[in-house]
């Protein structure tokens, strides 16, 4: 798999660390309650199709990316800087 890092350009999958669903960006408040935190930490839509997830260009520029990709075809549609998505 190859991902186009917004900083570095297209790179081999081996340069990236994968974390998981991009819902991790939406951290609940401290007092949101167990169920909200359970959803945030554990429960996943886990789609067979397009998904957004978080990757870290660890052996590259060190940017956290939100990658738009397909879990069935492995097509990678887009990668953007996580800090831009968040802002």
């Amino acid at each position: 798999m190859r991902i186009t890092c917004p900083n570095c350009g297209e790179r081999d999958r081996r340069e990236f660390y994968y974390q998981g669903d991009a819902l991790a960006l939406d951290r609940p408040s401290q007092d949101a309650g167990l169920s909200v935190w359970d959803d945030y930490l554990h429960n996943r839509g886990n789609p067979a199709g397009d998904t957004k997830d978080l990757w870290f260009h660890e052996a590259g520029c060190g940017a956290w990316l939100v990658v738009d990709r397909n879990t069935v075809t492995h097509a990678v549609h887009k990668a953007v800087l996580a800090e831009k998505v968040k802002r």
Partner: protein, 968 residues
């Protein structure tokens, strides 16, 4: 027999027999030239087998090459190149290829039908491992590994191109020429020793010249194009996401010259053109596996390309026009054609050799070499004496790579075979025979057209110029199996025959996947390249379905077997992971310290002295340095992260459970970090060097993890925070100087006087060493009066030597990991032995360090009911009965009189040591409700090491509980 005398020959051996061969020709050709027909024994029934093909799809002729550690089993004699001194051995036969004891399996074959082993060998139960299985295992397997360490070099490499052309036959050469001429970066890869594909094997003309001349000209032109890279002996083995292809290159030349044997390529191509050709498939007639029965196209290859006659009197059996070529080529080469047997009634050929149309081979004779075939013809039978039968059941396009990304091929009735479906592998197109396009003229045209389209897509302008070539039609009438007496082999490599597949259908293994798994069809080294379609057809027939409904099994990478050494090149020995060395490494090694792995780092275990017999003696002495004088330890491996910015303190408050915004400049604070799920991530100290400047230390193990975590927080969770983090682990060589004489020692190396007033416990700041600006931290991981002094790494070795020399003057010296561990256990300080990923702040008694005034990572999840409370196993100390009662790490804990069973287990030890300071054995442990049980006597049981001890539960801080020594 050779058709012409070769210019040059070399000597190689087969099973010890010296033979002449032409350098570079396949061993199969050389064996043939030497009249050797029997070259292998089959997998299951140990039937005598000969060479079947002329390529990497070979099913029968697997051999072993070399001796000792260089032994390489399961090489195909059809692709193995002859060289001087090459030693080739047959395999899977004992005592010899000719007289193989296990051929007895063949006699009992009626009892060894597909899947028979699922139905027996069940009684008595204990016999499976002891009796049945060992016998089966010894009989199974083809070649043997030497069991010795691989002595050869292999390498890996990356390559990039606009267009990867896979296969250099007519379509591939045209594609490469077209794309190359247009200016695209082209890689042309072919698994053969020379470019040209089937044009090297056929008698054909292109542009009025022999095809081989056209090939030579094409290669010359490609070689002159700077943007084209030609890779021979290179098999593209797999297609992966986003245009990544794996390829295996067998490197030509002398093994002894230090050349790598193979190179495993990762090729990234914007586009790929698959021009992999097609493979001829056998016909399943009775006893179609005798040595001397070959693929018709292979016979042409040996005659036309290698100048070797596979037989003296050759018969040809086919169901398609292409088989006719074989007969014609044999005749042209002056080899007797015993018969052309065409299963079709209406075929149109005239010649002066015997032709039987509407005929089928129904029997064969000859144990170690073919002697005759019997054909059914005109309602009767006829025996034809022949020593070689060339068979052709038609052609299977080599669609494999188009299926590597889960694509499925489509059945094409016209050619009775599967062809690639469109859009199988993004960026890859197909042309030529692999696409079901068989005539040379069509292949050339399709290769050029496809490449022109690809070049245009990539922004290049191209002109299509296609040479004139033969445009024969390919007519075929399916013939899969011929009934008769004797087994009709389909998968020669796994000894699967027609009856096996019928039995599978009978037992409801009707799905093609079930049939494959039940009969092992297509699971041998060739992965059913030649046989799968025949098997499908037989299954379709047996289940009353058509072939398209029956479907295919999945082709998966690699296309040809790839050695583990090639894909794992560079990792043997120490190459598996980088090695990290501290600046004091050489000095420590110079003191004979055993260096042990700590993550990727090496750290000294202990520093032995001459009179010491065990590591314990050294360790006790080093502990004594720190407790009584002064010890020096390199702590540079701990992660150091520089944190700067207006929001640096806010960041720290968010990632640590405790508060850092209140920390004063020039001070250090211990911090605890949680994962978002509420368990401990790491701990360490963070120093405030300036209002907006901190330096964080992490454990050695978690340095990378914490760095990634901080970046995650800053970029993904809190981009509103204006702070930057960068690792400075490598910038600073940092040494712990610990013990009552620590200050005195430092005063011998520091440029300014170190005083308790200026440097109280947990102070930090700049300090110069010999004019070099350094940093000093008054922190302690031993519980003693201690400092960590840091200088830029270039001075690390020098400072280490200096500190150690001064320490020795003061009755101290260097200490290693063993002593460091004892010192911290005595003080109840935790490491990742305790914070192993399942512990919470509550468990380690730091619940109160989780500030309730602010949010932090892990705060909410740590409050889950399951993560706190009496039922949790909590950190405690355990004290043994005395110094002669060693405790073991990993032992479980039980109430004093309880049985050592799972339900009774209340905890376990994590770290143990002999404490020379307290002269007893200690352990840190987790114990259910442990904090409330100090003073209780419990049982420690280690089944593995047969240790049972009674121990007293106590506070984990065994030594100096008030911490006066570190402050003093």
């Amino acid at each position: 027999m050779r058709l012409e005398q070769p210019e040059q020959t070399v000597t190689f051996t087969f099973d010890g027999r010296k033979l002449k061969g032409v350098p570079g020709e396949p061993v199969a050709a050389a064996l043939m030239a030497n009249g050797i027909k029997l070259v292998a024994r089959s997998f299951k029934y140990h039937r005598p087998r000969g060479v079947m093909s002329a390529g990497s799809e070979e099913q029968n002729a697997l051999v072993t090459v070399g001796r000792g550690a260089q032994t390489e089993p399961n090489l195909r004699a059809t692709t193995l190149e002859v060289s001087e001194g090459l030693e080739v051995f047959s395999q899977n036969a004992w005592p010899s290829l000719r007289y193989d004891m296990l051929a007895i399996n063949d006699l009992f074959s009626r009892f060894l039908a597909a899947g028979f082993y699922y139905k027996t060998f069940m009684w008595p139960r204990s016999f499976w491992e002891k009796v049945y299985e060992p016998v089966i295992r010894r009989a199974a397997g083809l070649g043997a590994l030497s069991g010795e360490t691989n002595p050869d070099d292999y390498e890996k490499a990356f390559a990039f191109c606009d267009v990867l052309v896979i296969g250099a036959g007519p379509a591939g050469l045209m594609a490469a020429l077209t794309a190359g001429r247009a200016g695209a970066d082209v890689i042309l890869a072919d698994e053969d020793t020379a470019m040209g594909g089937r044009l090297l094997r056929e008698r054909e003309e292109i542009d009025g010249k022999p095809a081989t001349a056209w090939v030579a000209a094409a290669i010359q032109e490609l070689a002159n194009l700077k943007n084209v890279r030609m890779m021979t002996r290179t098999t593209v083995t797999g297609a992966y996401d986003q245009g990544t292809y794996a390829a295996l290159e067998r490197i030509a030349g002398d093994r002894a010259a230090g050349k790598p044997l193979e190179c495993f390529w990762r090729i990234v191509a914007k586009r790929a053109i698959l021009t992999a050709g097609a493979l001829e498939r056998p016909i399943a007639f009775p006893n179609n596996d005798r040595p001397g029965i070959m693929m018709a196209s292979a016979v042409r290859a040996y005659v036309n390309r290698w100048g070797v006659a596979p037989g003296k009197s050759v018969a040809v059996f086919g169901n398609n026009d292409d088989a006719h070529r074989t007969a014609q080529d044999l005749q042209a080469a002056g080899i007797k054609v015993a018969a052309l047997i065409d299963s079709r009634d209406d075929t149109d050929i005239t010649s002066d050799f015997p032709i039987y149309t509407g005929a089928q081979v129904v029997a064969t004779k000859g144990r170690h070499a073919l002697e005759s075939v019997t054909i059914a013809y005109n309602g009767g039978r006829r025996v034809i004496r022949t020593d070689c039968l060339a068979m052709s059941g038609g052609w299977n396009p080599t669609v494999h790579l188009t299926c590597h990304m889960n694509g499925r091929p489509t059945w094409n009735t016209d050619i009775a075979s599967f062809v690639p479906s469109a859009e199988n592998v993004p960026g890859m197109v197909t042309a030529g025979a692999c696409n079901g396009t068989f005539s040379t003229a069509d292949c050339l045209a399709e290769g050029a057209a496809v490449a022109a389209d690809v070049a245009k897509d990539l922004g290049f302008k191209s002109r299509v110029k296609v040479p004139q070539a033969e445009d024969r039609t390919y007519a075929i009438s399916p013939l899969w199996a011929v009934p008769g007496k004797g087994r009709q082999w389909i998968d020669f490599q796994n000894d699967v025959h027609v009856k096996d597949i019928k039995l599978a259908a009978q037992e409801n293994f009707r799905s093609v996947e079930h049939m494959k798994r039940y009969t092992t069809q297509g699971m041998a080294p060739d992965q059913g390249k030649s046989s799968n379609v025949v098997a499908l057809a037989v299954l379709a027939d047996a289940t009353g379905r058509g072939i398209p409904e029956t479907g295919t099994t999945t082709f998966r990478p690699p296309y040809v077997p790839v050695s583990i050494a090639a894909m794992g090149a560079g990792s043997q020995g120490k190459g598996f992971a980088p090695e990290r060395f501290t600046t004091s490494h050489k000095a420590s090694v110079g003191r004979d310290a055993p260096m042990i792995e700590a993550g990727l780092w090496y750290r000294p275990s202990y520093f032995p002295q001459k009179d010491e017999a065990t590591w314990r003696e050294a360790c006790d002495r080093e502990v004594g340095y720190v407790r009584n004088a002064v010890g020096v330890c390199d702590v540079s491996t701990l992660g150091k992260i520089d944190i700067q910015g207006p929001d640096a303190a806010t960041l720290l408050d968010f990632v640590y459970t405790n508060t850092f915004s209140t920390l004063k400049v020039g001070k250090v604070r211990y911090g605890l970090m949680l994962r978002e799920d509420g368990h401990v991530l790491d701990d360490g100290t963070t120093a405030r060097l300036g209002e907006q400047h901190f330096v964080m230390t992490t454990t050695t193990a978690a340095a990378g993890l914490v760095m990634r975590h901080l970046e995650f927080v800053l970029q993904a969770l809190r981009p509103d925070l204006d702070a930057n983090v960068i690792s400075v682990t490598e910038q600073w060589a940092q040494f712990a100087v610990a013990g009552p004489k620590a200050r005195a020692l430092l005063n011998t190396v520091l440029d300014q006087e170190l005083t308790d007033e200026a440097w109280p416990f947990m102070a930090c700041g700049e300090a110069n060493v010999g004019g070099v600006p350094g940093r000093l931290f008054r922190i302690s991981f031993s519980g003693e009066h201690a400092y960590e002094v840091a200088v830029p790494s270039r001075y690390g070795e020098s400072l280490f030597r200096m500190l150690v020399a001064q320490a020795e003057v003061m009755g101290g010296g260097p200490y290693g990991m063993e002593a460091l561990n004892v010192l911290r256990i005595e003080k109840g300080f935790i490491t990742h032995a305790e914070i192993h990923g399942r512990t919470t702040a509550f468990d380690i008694g730091m619940g109160r360090m989780v500030s309730q005034k602010k949010d932090c990572i892990g705060h909410a999840a740590a409050a889950r009911p399951g993560l706190i409370g009496e039922g949790r196993q909590q950190l405690v100390g355990l004290r043994a009965k005395g110094p002669d009662h060693p405790l073991t790490a990993g032992a479980h804990l039980f109430e004093k009189d309880a049985d050592a069973t799972r339900v009774n287990s209340q905890g376990y030890t994590t770290s143990v040591c002999y404490s020379p300071t307290l002269d007893t054995q200690l352990a840190l442990a987790f114990l259910e409700n442990g904090r409330a049980r100090h003073g209780e006597v419990i049982k420690l049981r280690d089944h593995l090491r047969d240790v049972t001890e009674t121990v007293v539960v106590c506070d984990p801080v065994f030594f100096d509980p008030t911490g006066g020594r570190a402050r003093g």
